[in-house]
Amino acid sequence: MLVPAFAIILLFQLIGEVISRALHLPLPGPVLGMVGMVVALSAIPRLAQIVTPVAQGLLRHLSLLFVPVGVGIVANVHTIAEHWVAISVSLVVSTLLAIVVGAFTFTYVAKLVGSKPND
């Protein structure tokens, strides 16, 4: 089922890419493809059987896919060295702050509207 699964996944990415370009949307094709796939999976439950094994395989190694871009650090060493204080402080503080603020907000609002974790 490898070929049908890949064909379907790439088709959704392609459709997303075409819509993104044609309508000049700020959203990239793969994100639109993901939205399309969610809709399609709800409409055609059988689709999940074809796509799921390949999707799980890809998602299990999601972090591998970030390696090529990460190696780009060698091409940007000078800019980073020049602004390393601003970059490192801003990255670390803002990322951790966003996680804490987001997690507290979610927990607080969930309690407020009575949305429990396991119901």
Binding site: I9, L10, F12, Q13, G16, P26, P28, P30, V31, M34, M37, V38, L41, A48, V54, Q56, L58, L59, H61, L62, S63, L64, L65, F66, V67, P68, V69, G70, V71, G72, I73, V74, A75, N76, H83, A86, I87, V89, S90, L91, V92, V93, S94, T95, L96, L97, A98, I99, V100, V101, G102, A103, F104, T105, F106, V109, A110, S115, P117, D119
Partner: protein, 237 residues
């Protein structure tokens, strides 16, 4: 000796060598990660990037040449993003039940990420180009690159900052939220996905399935929201 050099000179320009090196570097990173008992301090991406960066510097290979080979791995980011639809759809019920906290936490988390990053960098003397490069750092790589280009930032540096953001999030999220006593896996996952995109999501899936699903949701939604918020917030600076 000259033969060996000729073979090297040829292979170093071919995609095969660097594609192979990328997979092996990640394999080494993943093995060390598993050997460490899945410690967040032993990150397979950091190890792979460090090994490859060292190899490129040692051999005097340019990033361009490396990327010719590694682009086949990079390409899979697109299909992998589409595949995030599967865990999302499978957990639609849980997501619908948490719709209000999801929407509120999305806006608060996304605003916090962009505003604090720009505010801190601005206070520390970053110029306009660097701010535009930093603004979309919490969005997933392909989206962030597009946003940075629109704002007048440096796309390749944005990609690196996005990866570093994800690593910082993945590294600290578990001990930090444990200390703060946040136990709802939905909240933990969602906030991580919003702030630390795919790398944070990958980390969330390693710890808890619910956290992973909510992290994918946070990542996908913040990719959309950052595209709208980053240009608006940039006007303040």
């Amino acid at each position: 000796m000259t033969d060996a050099f000729q073979v090297w000179a040829y292979m170093a320009q071919q995609p095969l060598l660097w594609l192979c090196a990328t997979l092996f570097a990640y394999w080494i990173g993943e093995t060390l990660f598993l050997k460490s008992g899945r410690s967040p301090l032993v990150n397979s991406v950091v190890i792979a990037v460090a090994l490859l960066a060292g190899l490129l510097m040692l051999t005097g290979t340019s990033y361009q040449t490396y990327f010719n080979g590694a682009q086949f791995v990079h390409f899979m980011l697109g299909p992998a993003t589409v595949c995030l639809a599967i865990p999302l759809q499978a957990n639609m019920l849980a997501i619908r039940k948490a719709l209000v906290p999801i929407i509120v936490a999305l806006f608060v988390g996304s605003l916090t990420a962009i505003l604090s990053a720009l505010g801190i960098a601005w206070m520390l003397g970053a110029d306009h180009v660097l701010l535009a490069t930093l603004a979309p750092k919490s969005a997933t790589a392909p989206v962030a690159i597009g946003i940075a280009e629109n704002l007048g930032g440096q796309a390749t540096l944005t990609a690196v900052l996005v990866i570093l953001t994800g690593l910082v999030g993945a590294l600290f999220v578990t001990p930090m939220l444990n200390v703060l006593g946040i136990t709802d896996w939905r909240a933990r996952g969602f906030a991580t996905g919003v702030a630390a995109h795919g790398i944070g999501t990958a980390r969330a899936f390693q710890i808890n399935d619910t956290a992973g699903v909510f992290a994918s949701m946070g990542m996908g939604l913040n990719a959309i929201l950052t595209a709208f918020l980053a240009p608006l917030i940039m006007q303040l600076f």
